[in-house]
């Protein structure tokens, strides 16, 4: 396990909103968490919980309009990314922080060859000459396991399979050895055997640069259990729980996290006839309850849950929960 406690990125009270038909959709509404050097941090939650918007906010890729970052600080190496100029931000993107998305086809340009697009990254961020950029690109393709990489440099994105395109995206995202990789559902569109290849690749590449960190956004709790050291659980644009991976899976505290874990079929355990479920469904963004965002689906709801939103409390070192059940269990002073 990593014992690195040096913060690479700090997010403080981030709020990212969207204007939708005269209403304000609070997609991310007061999110605070840190990413430490060397860790793989999972960001999980069901669709619409604000995971992608959080990732895009870090890189300031929120489409404006309709979206805007209402408030917050995102400190990277001590600098607030939200204060940087467009040009300064562009230098960070792809070089120090890079991002891969669920559907690689939308992030690759169909009219340029794979090789050209890879070489561009080296030429833009590292001012390399053409020949050197070419050789480095071939090396990257080889590293991510593309067979016959020299020849395949000339191919266009549509000539690669889905798994190969995702590996190209990883090659591109890692070509400048970024210190933070944000991977948003990187394997969701892939088959399980290809997913295993891609996750294996991400983990192995990270080993080469020990201080680099990954923010892995996914809805797949299996993927989180196998690749992450710490986990942030989101629901309704808010963080509901933060915990080291073993603690989250073996001793979840928030009723939402508990419900999610129980609802998964577990063939490796004793056979259950019926799956325990969380009742109801995720409300539409404008219809979340006023108090605890989860209260209309929670089986432990109390009266105050409907009116007062709980704070995200640290209940033990490294563990935080946003739930009224844990009030009074606040862990000593703020230990960090």
């Amino acid at each position: 396990m990593e014992n690195n406690t040096k913060k690479l990125l700090e997010i403080h009270s981030l709020r990212t909103y969207f204007c939708v038909e005269d209403q304000i959709a609070k997609a991310v509404d007061g999110v605070d968490f840190d990413i430490y050097e060397g860790e793989t941090l999972g960001l999980v939650g069901e669709s619409g919980s604000g995971k992608s918007v959080t990732g895009l906010s870090i890189l300031r890729l929120i489409p404006n309009p309709p979206g805007f970052i209402k408030e917050g600080n995102i400190l990277f190496h001590g600098k607030n990314l939200l204060d940087l100029s467009y040009t300064e931000m562009r230098k960070i993107r792809g070089k120090e922080i890079s991002m891969i998305f669920q559907e690689p086809m939308t992030s690759l340009n169909p009219v340029f060859s794979i090789g050209y697009q890879l070489m561009e990254v080296f030429r833009f961020h590292q001012n390399m000459e053409k020949e050197e950029a070419f050789e480095r690109s071939v090396e990257m393709l080889e590293l991510v396991g593309i067979p016959d990489p020299r020849r395949r440099m000339n191919d266009y994105p549509h000539q690669y399979s889905g798994g190969m395109r995702q590996r190209v995206m990883i090659a591109m995202a890692l070509s400048c050895k970024p210190s933070l990789l944000i991977a948003d559902e990187p394997t969701t569109a892939l088959d399980v055997t290809i997913q295993a290849q891609v996750l294996d690749l991400m983990v192995n590449i990270k080993k080469e640069k020990v201080n680099a960190a990954i923010l892995l956004i996914t809805h797949d709790l299996g993927v989180v259990a196998e690749t992450c050291q710490r986990v942030v659980v989101m629901y309704g644009g808010k963080i509901q729980e933060i915990a080291p991976v073993h603690e989250l899976f073996h001793d979840p505290r928030h009723p939402y996290t508990m419900g999610l874990l129980k609802s998964l079929p577990r063939p490796d355990r004793i056979k259950q006839d019926r799956l325990p479920t969380i009742p109801g469904m995720v409300p539409e963004i404008f219809h979340f309850p006023k108090g605890c965002k989860f209260c209309n689906r929670c089986d432990r709801k109390m009266e105050k849950c409907e009116t007062i939103e709980p704070e995200l409390l640290e209940i033990s070192p490294g563990r935080k929960v946003r739930c009224h059940l844990f009030e009074g269990q606040k862990h000593g002073t703020d230990a960090k």
Binding site: E46, S47, P147, S161, G163, M164, D191, V192, T193, I194, Q195, A196, Q197, L199, D200, H219, D220, L221, G222, V223, V224, A225, E226, T227, V245, H246, F249, H250, G259, L260, L261, S263, L264, P265, R266, P267, D268, K271, Q272, D273, R274, L275, P276, T277, I278, M281, V282
Partner: protein, 339 residues
């Protein structure tokens, strides 16, 4: 699993082949063939849930669609047992003769967005198959049945007048299920019915399917790529690769003791939601990509990625051999694979 089950076979698929022609050239003639389903045989017992798994493109949906004749089989038989015990080869029927069987065999699709007509109300969507297949029912009887079905799938009667876009993904899937059940089918083909749903909604829909199965004595062909879900709901599992069946067995056997090298790779690749198992689980990372069904490898189609492939594997298509207890494996060398 406690399913009301006997050993009567409801449906058997025999040596099914579905080849899609690819046209090209100046004279638009056939230039190639996609061997989507390439000699598949299995049977479904009355009352059971049979799981069908394999990675995308291996031919699962094509099999489902062949059974309901949304695609025409190139070769093979699909034999359905009627209520009176008589067996009928569906492939030999013409459109008109097929009609009564469409009420018996219904399909639920993965995508609850595109499979419901956006201009029809939910009530009309559920009622439509009844108008087609049950001409003796009165309007009142049909509407009563629609109400009953809405209640059964956890929606309420008042929602019958609303349109699909007013519903969430999970609710639309419930509508799809209600529609499929409207005609009292005996066999339901559920093609990835929970794959597009969020985790908490998946569990609700899986429970619903199981409850309805018990209540109506349904037989289900459950197609999915999430192996934990398939193991949970199925009594037996068929594993496919590139248009062929590679293994068939009881779900627990397939899940916990897969034999075919492909099944073993597939199962070892499934990430388990338990970090404590991460280190003890041996992952078998396959090399390379799934070949295109346009250029299917000769012999055993898995040989290009198989860790124990031998020269012989390029020559012979392996038989599905019974290794005991009805467990079938299409690899003569499976015992040689040690992880």
């Amino acid at each position: 699993m406690e399913q009301t089950q006997n050993n009567n076979i409801l449906l058997s698929v025999e040596n099914l082949r579905v080849y899609f022609p690819i046209y090209g050239g100046v004279f638009i003639k056939k230039v190639a063939e996609v061997k989507a389903v390439d000699g598949v045989s299995f049977s479904i017992k009355e009352g059971e849930t049979l799981g069908l798994v394999g990675e995308s493109g291996c031919g699962k949906s094509t099999i489902g669609k062949s059974i309901v004749r949304l695609v025409e089989p190139t070769q093979g038989n699909i034999v359905f047992t009627k209520k009176d015990g008589h067996k009928v080869n569906l492939v030999s029927l013409n459109r008109k003769e097929m009609r009564p069987f469409r009420a018996d065999i219904q399909m639920i699709f993965q995508d609850p967005y595109s499979s419901l007509n956006p201009r029809f109300t939910i009530g009309r969507i559920i009622e439509e198959p009844l108008e087609i297949h049950c001409p003796n029912m009165t309007k009142q009887e049909r509407q009563n049945r629609v109400k009953m079905l809405l209640n059964k799938v956890g929606l309420n009667e008042e929602q019958a007048v609303r349109y699909p876009h007013e519903f969430s993904g999970g609710q639309r899937q419930r509508v799809g299920i209600a529609r499929a059940l409207s005609t009292h089918p005996r066999l339901v083909i559920a093609d990835e019915p929970v794959s597009a749903l969020d985790v908490s909604i998946q569990a609700q829909v899986i429970n619903l399917l199981q409850d309805l199965q018990k209540e109506f004595g349904l037989t289900i062909l459950f197609v999915a790529h999430n192996l934990a879900v398939v193991e949970h709901i199925s009594s037996r599992i068929v594993v496919m690769y590139l248009g062929n069946v590679v293994e068939i067995g009881q779900s627990q056997d397939i899940y916990h003791h897969p034999k075919h090298p492909y099944s073993r790779a597939l199962l070892s690749a499934v990430p388990l939601p338990d970090p404590a198992l991460k280190d003890q689980k041996k992952k078998m990372i396959l090399k390379g990509e799934i070949p295109s069904p346009l250029a299917k490898p000769s012999g055993c189609a898995f040989r290009t990625r198989c860790p124990i492939a031998k020269p012989e594997c390029a020559q012979n298509i392996p038989n599905l051999d019974d290794i005991g207890n009805g467990h079938l494996v299409a690899c003569p060398y499976w015992k040689e694979l040690n992880l």
